[in-house]
């Protein structure tokens, strides 16, 4: 029983970083219709920038993480304005943005390899909050608690942002129908920039958190998150922040518990098998394709 609880906690922690990534990835897919293959590289670059600020510039940890997050966010805006904006103006469909994002995926991935010298770097152990909480026989490291808390907090903040603020309403409007939104006085370009920033910044947060818990800052950070985040979005339903969150958590749990009780090497198989089943049974995800929960 202790083992089960312990593994459940591990699963929740792993799933939380997937969930954070998935929320941003899903937001872009739902509002702009872009299946962004380059989204994982934002996570990679968020982690690389945070580490660089901390290591090379000597910035204290927390501001360094903020720099990583903001840097990743700006990268997202840059990619959107350089690559996706021209296609959007032309009315580019599904294929065009995917191909463009593959282009950025190649470029940003290669640059990340060059920047890290193709080596795995780590945040210095002593700089991170060490220690753990002990509840009975259960041991919960701080970084797991932080990851879990950050994910929940981000879900709450983003949800309230989408549902309660004016710009959030504009984002939902653009997601429903960009043309009608424009007629109603929404500036779609500004909305798109805000979405790109939020999505890429949350990807960076996921990248930073998962690189801390796995002691791995390298070009591989984003790849893993992209594939899992993508599965999370499909399982949860891409139009709903809560769906992406639930999808991410479910995948984390399935992965860790599957590895424990079924087969370690087949753990990804469980994730992606689940994904195919969901695709066939409920093609729009467990939570459907509603944009952030509310249907007008």
């Amino acid at each position: 029983m202790t083992l089960f609880l312990q593994q459940t906690i591990n699963g929740l922690a792993v799933g939380s970083s997937y969930a954070i990534f998935a929320m941003g990835f899903g937001l872009v897919f739902a509002t702009m219709g872009i299946l962004n293959v380059a989204h994982g590289t934002y996570a990679t670059w968020g982690a690389i920038l945070a580490l660089a600020a901390f290591d090379s510039l000597g910035v204290p940890l927390v501001p360094a993480l903020a720099i990583g997050m903001a840097g990743g966010g700006l990268l997202g805006v840059l990619v959107d304005q350089l690559g996706f904006e021209p296609i959007r103006r032309r009315g580019g469909g599904l294929l065009g943005p995917i191909i463009t994002s593959i282009g950025f995926w190649i470029i940003l991935g290669q640059l990340a390899i060059i920047a890290t010298g193709a080596r795995i770097k780590t945040f210095p152990r002593e700089a991170l909050p060490r220690g753990f909480v002990r509840i009975g026989d259960l041991v919960i490291p701080y970084h797991q608690i932080i990851t879990f808390a950050v994910a929940l907090l981000l879900l709450l903040i983003l949800y309230l942002f989408m549902m309660r603020t004016n710009i959030g309403a504009q984002m939902r409007a653009v997601g429903w129908d960009p043309d009608s939104a424009k007629i109603s006085g929404v500036n779609p370009r500004r909305v798109v920039i805000v979405i790109s920033f939020i999505a890429a910044a949350t990807a960076s947060v996921a990248g930073i958190l998962s690189s801390i818990s796995t002691n791995n800052v390298s070009f591989t950070v984003g790849e893993g998150l992209l594939l899992k985040g993508f599965a999370a979005v499909i399982i949860g339903g891409f139009g709903d922040l809560r769906g992406a969150y639930v999808g991410g958590i479910l995948i984390g749990l399935a992965e860790v518990l599957g590895a424990q009780y079924i087969s370690n090497s087949f753990r990804d198989f469980i994730t992606f098998g689940l994904l195919i089943v969901v695709l066939l049974a409920r093609p729009k995800g467990l939570m459907g394709d509603r944009i952030v929960g509310l249907r007008a």
Partner: protein, 595 residues
């Protein structure tokens, strides 16, 4: 081959990647955004490992085995995925790519697991060139074959394809199998070239990059994928002489530039035509040039007067003794809270022209779509030719002889006029996949035959334009005529026309009216939605008037339109009432003269 020199290995890999790219293209041309070529290649790659290393099978046989295994895996994948729409196919096939890697990792007795396994290179250059040559031959022969036309139709307008009795799923399944066969070949070739297989050999990298290569090269022509694959392989290789790392960045940059400046890729058969159309459009906007893309030109319209006979519809006969070609019983259709059609009942007598009139938003087009199976009604019955077709699939209704046109023209822009019409012949075509590949006499005869009949249909409906001209370059009115010709190619018993004369000159409209009458001579039943009341009065034997989804009146057009409720509810103003009055008189006058 010595002449390849320093780049021999680069060219060899380019060929392998070209095969991957063509596999991706084969699916994409039917609108299937699939990355499944890579996992299918993984299957044959590891099959070839076993055949070559453990069983010493000759490479020629291994290549054939690759094609067969690939084809079967394509069929297998198509069973669940052919149902999904393109967004979801993309997602599901990415999932397949990821799952394939896990399987490879775990079947370590066959695949070598995480350590990978070496494989002896058995393919020689002549194998590579032969394989690529054979695949290119098949692609070229199928670019405008029965399958090629059906794929184009399914890609650009799946609904329209279904309304033309094309088996949408069947076409997609064939494309999945073709894509699988080519990917299978690619898997064997690639495995032999890399000489080492690991779980990462067939992974996201190849999947994404090969999709990108197809779009870079041009996804509207089979040659595009080959160009893309060669560019993607050779360009970094050249740069490698100057750079120590990051040479593939050039591919990323190139990809983004192409997507911005040449979104249809390097190879685009319609580029010239598109450029000219764009120029014309700008000229119209700035007030120069001829408005050929808009309404009908005066000169063109004059041609019509040559063939007009002045014939009009016969007086309505009592419907009792004529069988109904089509009957609608209590049809209701709602969208959310909006009632588009409310409990509509009427019958269309066989062999007549039947008009549907009503203001915009009256539910006319929805009704047409329900009758043709494009939309399903909430309740009520549709009987066509004596059969209850309620809830039937669009393809099946089309197969029973119901053809339609659309309010906004739905032609296949990447096909020529004749090819567009030939799509309508699909149901009666008998050639299979191999006929065009082996250039059988049957294939040649069928193509020549159908092209000839398509040209005859062009003449029948009076398309002004060249048979080999891209449909998108015709004027709007002529595009409408091509659409009618395409519907007639199905040799339907019931023809549903949605505003066939929109954008046409007066004489052109009259010609359409006379065409409808001549079709009824051959036993066809024509149902036509029309705003042009003169046309309805002159050519329809019976009509209904709709408003807000309800039936306002039915019967002979003149009676319908002079019905006080119709005039009041629909036309409102007195001026219109007076105009209808005069139209009705004119019609009675000319009708009397004829008799």
């Amino acid at each position: 081959m010595a002449f390849l020199g320093h780049y021999a290995s680069t060219v060899e890999f380019s060929i392998a990647f070209a095969l991957f790219a063509i596999a991706t293209y084969s699916a994409l041309r039917g609108g299937i955004l699939s990355l499944a070529g890579t996992p299918m290649a993984a299957v044959t790659g590891f099959v070839s490992l076993a055949l070559v290393e453990d069983h010493n099978v000759p490479i020629e046989l291994v290549l054939v085995a690759g094609v067969v295994v690939g084809l079967l895996s394509g069929l297998l994948v198509s069973i669940p995925l052919a149902r999904l729409e393109s967004h979801w196919v993309a997602l599901a096939t990415i999932a397949l790519v990821l799952m394939a890697r896990v399987v490879v990792l775990n079947l370590d007795s066959v695949t070598g697991g995480v350590d990978g396994a070496p494989i002896t290179r058995m393919v020689e250059q002549w194998h590579l060139f032969t394989a690529l040559g054979a695949v290119m031959w098949v692609m070229a022969r199928h670019s405008r074959s029965r399958l090629g036309l059906a794929a184009e139709a399914v890609r650009s307008h799946p609904d329209v394809a279904a309304s033309l009795a094309i088996d949408v799923y069947g076409t997609r399944r064939s494309l999945w199998m073709l894509s699988g066969a080519i990917a299978g070949l690619a898997g064997v070739v690639y495995a032999s070239l890399v000489q080492f297989l690991s779980p990462d050999t067939f992974y996201v990298n190849i999947a994404f990059v090969m999709l990108a290569a197809v779009v870079l090269g041009g996804n509207r022509h089979w040659f595009g994928g080959i160009v893309g694959a060669f560019v993607f392989t050779i360009l970094p290789e050249i740069l490698r002489r100057f750079l120590t790392q990051g040479e593939t960045i050039v591919n990323g940059v190139l990809l983004i530039l192409i997507m911005i400046y040449l979104p249809r890729g390097l190879v685009d058969p319609t580029r010239k035509v598109r450029r000219e159309l764009k120029k014309q459009a700008t000229n119209i906007h700035s007030g120069h040039g001829e408005p050929s893309a808009g309404g009908e030109q005066e000169g063109e319209a004059d041609l019509w007067s040559l063939n007009l006979t002045g014939r009009t519809a016969p007086e309505a006969e009592p419907t009792r003794d004529r069988p109904a070609a089509l009957s609608v019983e209590g049809i209701r259709k709602t969208y959310g809270g909006l009632v588009a059609i409310s409990d509509l009942t009427f019958t269309v007598p066989e062999g007549s022209v039947f008009g549907i009139v009503g203001p915009n938003g009256a539910g006319k087009s929805t009704l047409l779509s329900v009758m043709s199976g494009g939309d399903e009604s909430d309740r009520g019955k549709i009987r066509i030719l004596g059969q209850d077709m309620t809830g039937w699939k669009q393809t099946d209704i089309a197969r029973e002889g119901v053809a339609r046109t659309y309010q906004t023209v739905q032609l296949f822009d990447d096909l020529t006029v004749v090819e567009n019409i030939m799509v309508g012949f699909d149901r009666e075509r008998r050639t299979n996949f191999w006929d065009p590949v082996f250039m059988t006499p049957r294939d040649r005869r069928e193509r020549a035959d159908l092209a000839e009949r398509a040209r005859a249909l062009m003449d029948l409906v009076g398309v002004i334009g060249q048979p080999d001209q891209y449909a998108a370059t015709l004027s709007y009115a002529n595009q409408r005529r091509v659409e009618i010709a395409r519907a007639l190619a199905m040799e339907p018993s019931v023809l549903l026309l949605d505003e066939p004369t929109a954008g046409m000159h007066k004489l052109g409209s009259q010609a359409i009216g006379e065409l409808m009458l001549s079709l009824t001579d051959r036993g066809l039943t024509v149902v036509v939605i029309e705003h042009n009341l003169e046309l309805v009065l002159n050519y329809c034997e019976q009509a209904i008037v709709m408003d807000f989804g309800r039936l306002l009146a039915q019967g002979a057009p003149a009676d319908c339109l002079s019905d006080p409720t119709v005039i009041e509810a629909y036309f409102g103003r007195k001026a219109d009432a007076a105009r209808i009055e005069s139209l009705v008189k004119l019609r009675q006058h000319s009708g009397g003269q004829q008799r």
